[in-house]
Symmetry: C2
Subunit: 403 residues, 2 copies
């Protein structure tokens, strides 16, 4: 008799951002006169930059003629894109990553969710708390966790590493040894960065314990200080770390879809190369990112592309500063937003995260994301993103200030 | 201690089409003077049609301006595309599928590989033999099968339903009851269609046994006879069947990536809606197909798009006829190719499929796909695709004829 994968039933009703979106739509329907401003889901608002648009048009034109038409892409992605990534994102930072260690995909979310398929079902995962929900939910769905405990807000079998103001949002090395450690820096949702020294500690810890680090560097373009952009800037990371990267937040590809995952060939466990396993998965379950989108990705690395994207990131960084300083000036305690597009604020008067969400939506028409949606240690915190338009961001800050 | 997902080690060395591609590249490198013609992997050669190119350019232009820019797509895909699919692919054929039962994705391969995640790990799967490798391999990787038995060419725990000339490539209903039945019609790799009456038998069987049918209709556009284009043309299919569809082979999207999966809300097992589970998976693990690609998909359904695509399919259908008649005239026994872009031929003199692959590559410079790569009952057969250019197809047929 057919049985469903009952692990799905352990999950909450819906994905966090689906719930946030639904609540915002419901409010808007009831209050059509309010101009709701979304600083909730981390979605960009600036258009694709001219260099990318030009590359897209050219690639579309190629697809219209038999002699320049492209069918299935190579399993790992086009080599010209992978060479470009290896040079710009790694060699330029002193990290030795070769093009054949790079797997092009349709985005970091897909890869962040799929990467757990390479681990045994009894692998013990450790996550920062609060955390990007995909890391935990994908493991829940695969059956790698116990049930959800409503009292603690935790799934059984998962090692949660609390990140709160008390520890500077920087977790200690876990006492129980995990098999897999998910790290995201600059961090989503707290907006905090990590120093090279601290990241090196994680790498050393993983190399000595045999754990594998999944390093999500989707927000590296927002780093302003002297922080590592890639985990492979640390010594020995190639034997313990997988890195996830995205074009969504640096180049505005949230609706264009492109990302990549790096698995160094030196990452071997139990005599098996994780690179080979991921290659097998790519070959069997994926058919590559669209040719036109990979061409668009190339344009991100052109000289004009780099300049245009730097300018766009500057807009969002200015938004972040505006939110940070505006709310701080209004008496809020705010974190993050310096090396990341996220501002993490303490809810006023110890309000719960969802109560503050409702307050902000109802009284200021501003959508944010409740910190508790990212994990129990996010309770009492709230995330705002810097991805609104400058005008909307300014308006939102003023509305919150006058609450 | 970190352990990998050891189910991956049960798999053969590489995905079938990766092996075929590698062998072809190696031959080409050794024989640069030979003009190798690929009728192997089912990749299209005709360019995207003008209506699609126009839609792509327009969508690219929209992405370049803040007021028409699109970020993250809705979880299920844009409603205008889903409405268009519901109307053209279902309502027009008398099938009642609503837009919110349609999930837009980056292609049928991704969905065919992912759909098994909804089933319990002890679900028993049944597949036609020969079969599109993704169905089996994705279940092997998930741990739903036993080891590979080199002697029988089968994975333990999987119900193989042999399709050979002896039974008209039409499997009988399985004696042991499976939980999940993978069906693909028009069939890849045999190129054979299924009558509505026979498909209705499968639907009735699934409804009476509680099994779920995964129906892959990626090749429906090639149907010439009076055969069902969708399983939902059969009575009661909405309570037992999931349908996978693709834009790759009708509109040439192999390198553009678009597909969709239909899960009717009436498909409930153990009190749980499979539609809800898939929606949860989409929300958690996927971020949608690119806006520009979904716009391109819309153009496929425009009046000019339909006409242009019909013409393109006509080219491939002509190729299929050329191969079928050409090889038949040269004494080969050929099947399929009437309602599908695949020709399935009996290897001459009882050669093994891989021996014939080598012979064809070495002596005719033509790449095909060994039937045994699709399963043990494919041994002694060989697949040729109709997706080459007309000139190349003609050349390939002449070369094979003169072997």
């Amino acid at each position: 008799m057919f049985r469903i994968n009952e692990n799905y039933l352990k999950l909450g009703g819906s994905y966090l951002f689906s719930t946030v979106g639904r609540k915002a739509r419901e409010f808007q329907a009831q209050h059509p006169e309010v101009e709701v401003i979304s600083l909730g889901i981390g979605d960009v608002t600036e258009p694709l930059c001219p260099a990318v648009i030009k590359a897209l048009h050219e690639a579309v034109e190629e697809m219209g003629h038999a002699e320049s038409f492209h069918g299935y892409a190579p399993d790992l992605g086009y080599v010209w894109l992978r060479e470009c990534i290896a040079k710009n994102d790694y060699a330029a930072r002193g990290a030795r990553i070769t093009p054949d260690e790079i797997f092009v995909s349709d985005g970091a979310k897909s890869d962040a969710g799929a990467i757990q398929e390479l681990f045994s079902l009894d692998a013990r995962i450790a996550v920062c708390d609060p955390v990007y929900p995909v890391y935990v939910d994908s493991n829940v769905m695969a059956g790698r966790t116990g049930a959800f405990d409503a009292e603690t807000g935790r799934y059984g079998g998962v090692l949660y590493m609390p990140c709160r103001a008390e520890n500077g949002f920087s977790p200690s090395l876990p006492e129980e040894a995990p098999d897999v450690i998910y790290l995201c820096y600059p961090n989503n949702p707290t907006g905090m960065g990590i120093s090279k020294e601290k990241l090196q500690n994680w790498v050393d810890y993983a190399n000595s314990s045999g754990a594998v680090i999944l390093y999500d560097a989707a927000y590296e373009a927002y780093i302003t200080g002297d922080l590592p952009h890639s985990i492979y800037e640390c010594d020995g990371a190639e034997s313990c770390a997988i890195e996830l990267r995205s074009f969504s937040k640096n180049a505005g590809f949230t609706g264009t879809r492109l990302g990549f995952t790096v698995i160094p060939k030196a990452l071997v466990r139990g005599g098996v190369s994780l690179h080979d396993l991921w290659a097998r998965r790519h070959g069997t379950r994926y058919n590559g990112a669209p040719y036109i989108v990979q061409k668009a990705g190339m344009a991100v690395y052109s000289e004009e592309g780099k300049a245009q994207i730097r300018e766009q990131i500057g807009i969002y960084q200015k938004n972040a500063r505006l939110i940070r300083e505006g709310l701080s000036g209004a008496g809020y305690t705010v974190y993050g937003g310096v090396d990341a597009p996220y501002i993490w604020l303490k809810t006023p008067g110890n309000m719960s995260s969802w109560d503050f969400f409702d307050l902000l939506l109802n009284q200021a028409g501003v959508v944010g994301t409740p910190g508790s949606g990212f994990g129990p240690s996010g309770e009492g915190y709230f995330r705002l993103t810097a991805f609104g338009s400058p005008a909307n961001t300014e308006k939102a800050v003023k509305r919150i200030q006058s609450l």
